[in-house]
Symmetry: C2
Subunit: 233 residues, 2 copies
DNA sequence: TGCCGCAATCTGTGATCACAGTTAGCTTCC
DNA sequence: GGAAGCTAACTGTGATCACAGATTGCGGCA
């Protein structure tokens, strides 16, 4: 049974590409934004009905997401959002620190004035959101994502960006689950500080500092999530 | 029209998992091993007929490979093995150096006596093959791949391994095309030397040296390929 | 009242058909 | 002899149907 039907009831905004592509982007966006929780079950038929299509495009989209590890599909069983073990989360965190840190370092050299302005704007938005007394968590998650991807896009490497998107597809559900249950963490300001340091490093063209700032951002959030013991093992 | 039908005529060895999974592994293995050249066209129907199945499992497999960038599928046009521009190849090379270098560094700390023995065996096999007067190129490519993945597997990170496999899926066709047309490069021994240095670094637990060795191996091969100007742009 | 087992309903998988857009080869005309 | 245009065969896309295994909840038994 589809446990989160409401997530599907809104229409797909995107209207370009094949139906499969649209369903893929629809589901991928929701995964990255943390609209699904680990363990959630989907059904091809339920999704296709909610979207007003046959199950074919949904099958292809789910198949792609499964290939990327963003969904799990066991033969004859319901498609699920993967649960993650603590060891796996530590593994993915170490990879994120290396890869996203590298992207931040690249961004120092490759950033244009345009992309720098974009990074600055995203930094400000996230900072202002987390300074609010009653912060909108969903908005904060989106703003955090926007800042990180502004940096990674500034690195100018399509390959790197694709790898990072795949990583976020996997951690999206966990990060969001954490933030939803621990809103106070936003107010501690670890992320704000790391973002500020990253921005400064890019401005001043100090690749090692940028790498370090992203590493501390990712490491801090991961340590917090692991300390909460909500993961398996 | 299927241009390389012979590639499909042999049966699929693997008999576990769904048909889609088997077709996926079948095609992925062939891509990594360089059995396809950039620009090759496939047809869902031709592949499915050669494999004795309906087109459904092939569709899903191709769809997954397309999601990983290993195949390109434009609506209503034949599926193709992607052509790569020089800029794109440079980009992917820089990412490979960072990611595969990181894996080699990790392997220093994580290698067990078993995995080290495996790496040594693969190093020897590749060295002996490239010392032969009339080396079998296909075998040399396979041996090179075996050495690299022995190292990466020793790093003990499933996440990293998945990312690297995806990268090889993309560069497989290009690397092999290069080696097929320039057999003399094998005899120059750049790869053999890099492999030896990498093995020594892992033995002596020197992560930076291991990273450096892999970087020089990848960088050397890429520089050679780029100098040959067989890529677009 | 609690547990076991069966049956209805769910799941993804695979095959087949219809369709529209693309490609390529052949014919025809210059 | 060569080029332009048309047609026939090919392409992936999407829908629908059949099937076998998994799940779940209801009913009966202890």
């Amino acid at each position: 049974m589809l446990e989160r039907i409401p997530a599907y009831t809104d229409a797909m905004l995107d209207e370009t590409g094949t139906l499969s592509d649209r369903v893929y982007r629809h589901l991928a966006d929701r995964l990255i934004a943390g609209r699904f929780a680990p363990g959630d079950k989907l059904s091809l038929r339920a999704v296709s009905e909610a979207l007003g299509l046959s199950i074919m495009p949904v099958r292809e989209a789910v198949s792609r997401l499964a290939a990327e590890g963003a969904l799990e599909v066991a033969p004859k069983k319901a498609v699920t959002v993967p649960l993650m073990r603590a060891a796996q989360f530590r593994d993915i965190t170490q990879v994120r620190i290396e890869v996203e840190g590298f992207a931040a370092a690249l961004a120092c050299k490759a950033a244009t004035s345009d992309s720098l302005a974009g990074i600055e704007a995203r930094e400000r938005e996230f900072r202002e959101l987390s300074e609010q007394a009653q912060a909108d968590l969903a908005q904060a998650v989106a703003a955090n994502q926007a800042f990180h991807f502004a940096v990674y896009r500034a690195a100018g490497s399509a390959e790197l960006l694709a790898i990072i998107e795949r990583l976020w597809l996997r951690v999206g559900p966990i990060i969001n689950l954490d933030l939803r249950e621990n809103p106070e963490r936003l107010r501690l300001g670890g992320a704000v500080q790391a973002h500020r340091a990253c921005l400064a490093a890019i401005r001043e063209n100090r690749p090692d500092a940028a790498r370090e700032a992203i590493a501390s951002d990712i490491g801090g959030a991961s340590a917090f999530i692991l300390s909460r013991q909500r993961l398996l093992d």
